[in-house]
Amino acid sequence: MPTSNASTFVVVPTYNEAAALRQTLLPLVYEGYSVVVVDDCSADNTLATIQDLSLHYLRHPINLGQGAALQTGMRYAVTQGAEYVVHFDADGQHDHREIQTLLAPVKAGEADIALGSRFQRTDDVEAVPVLRRALLKVATIINGVTTGLWLTDAHNGFRAMNRHAADAIRMSENRMAHATEILSLIRQNRLRYQEVPVHIVYTEYSKQKGQSALNAFNVLIDLILKKLLL
């Protein structure tokens, strides 16, 4: 690629992740990506831990949720002239070396958005804890039924898209239901999408931070209510 990584904006929503954030950001900054940290009103010392890094820092004055933070980051990236936008988790469960893998179909013009999947290579699948695997399978079915997009993975926060997709996707689900809403928006905006195998690192830290089964239930209720009310 003739253009450098600077035109790729990596959006990292963060909420009380000061313990892991710096380690997540260092390689991204080092590789020359335009890093956009969206601090969703963390109560810890998030800013202090990353103050010396070269990145874009945005802070919500009140806590709105991960979906809202992603949306703020995307809007910012688009106004800053981003060519590509990547969604990246703050807790270190995504591998920065896989950003280019994920971007490959987008850069090649084969897709507007690439979605990371843990369920396309056996060794990736085996890395997912058994209970979570079952939960995600159920979620893919719910997503398929409600959005019409049948994917192998659900709630995978690792995504890469071109400018067109970043501009077209406008989420209104502030909290976790945004993961399913993105799929609806992909379909509504007729974006070309592809699933790309990625590896997710389950550390003790990220497991503890991850979604519980109860949360998945809440997301489901939210989506059903949304279907009924809008």
Binding site: I50, D52, S54, L55, L58, P61, I62, Y76, L225, L229
Partner: protein, 110 residues
């Protein structure tokens, strides 16, 4: 006029007055709320009416009918409130987002 009738009728009357003076731009809400309050007022003043209606629709007792209708009205109220909250939340998000974007700062950019 028994004391309980006055006790129940006065707040309902106050509600009718409230809706008459408020919600100028929401004719539909205004009218339906006034109608509901008036219906309540009528039932308070003429309780036998509820039994007659109950028998007519096949419920049996007037009190049961009032409870059933109350339940439905409560549920509809919840849904209306929920969707209003969603709308407020969306506006709030938009305001917060614009504030955030206006205050965005690049740290140590070359």
């Amino acid at each position: 006029m028994t004391p309980i009738k006055i006790l129940l009728a006065l707040p309902l009357l106050a509600l009718v007055l409230l809706f008459l003076t408020r919600l100028q731009n929401q004719t539909f809400y205004r009218l339906s709320l006034i109608l509901v309050a008036l219906a309540g007022l009528t039932l308070v003043l003429f309780p036998e009416l509820s039994t007659q209606i109950a028998v007519a629709v096949g419920v049996g007792r007037g009190v049961d009918l009032v409870i059933y209708i109350g339940g439905v009205v409560f549920f509809i109220g919840m849904v209306v409130l929920y969707s209003k909250l969603r709308r407020i939340e969306r506006t709030q998000t938009e305001i917060i987002r614009n504030m955030t974007l206006n205050q965005a700062k690049p740290l140590n950019q070359a």
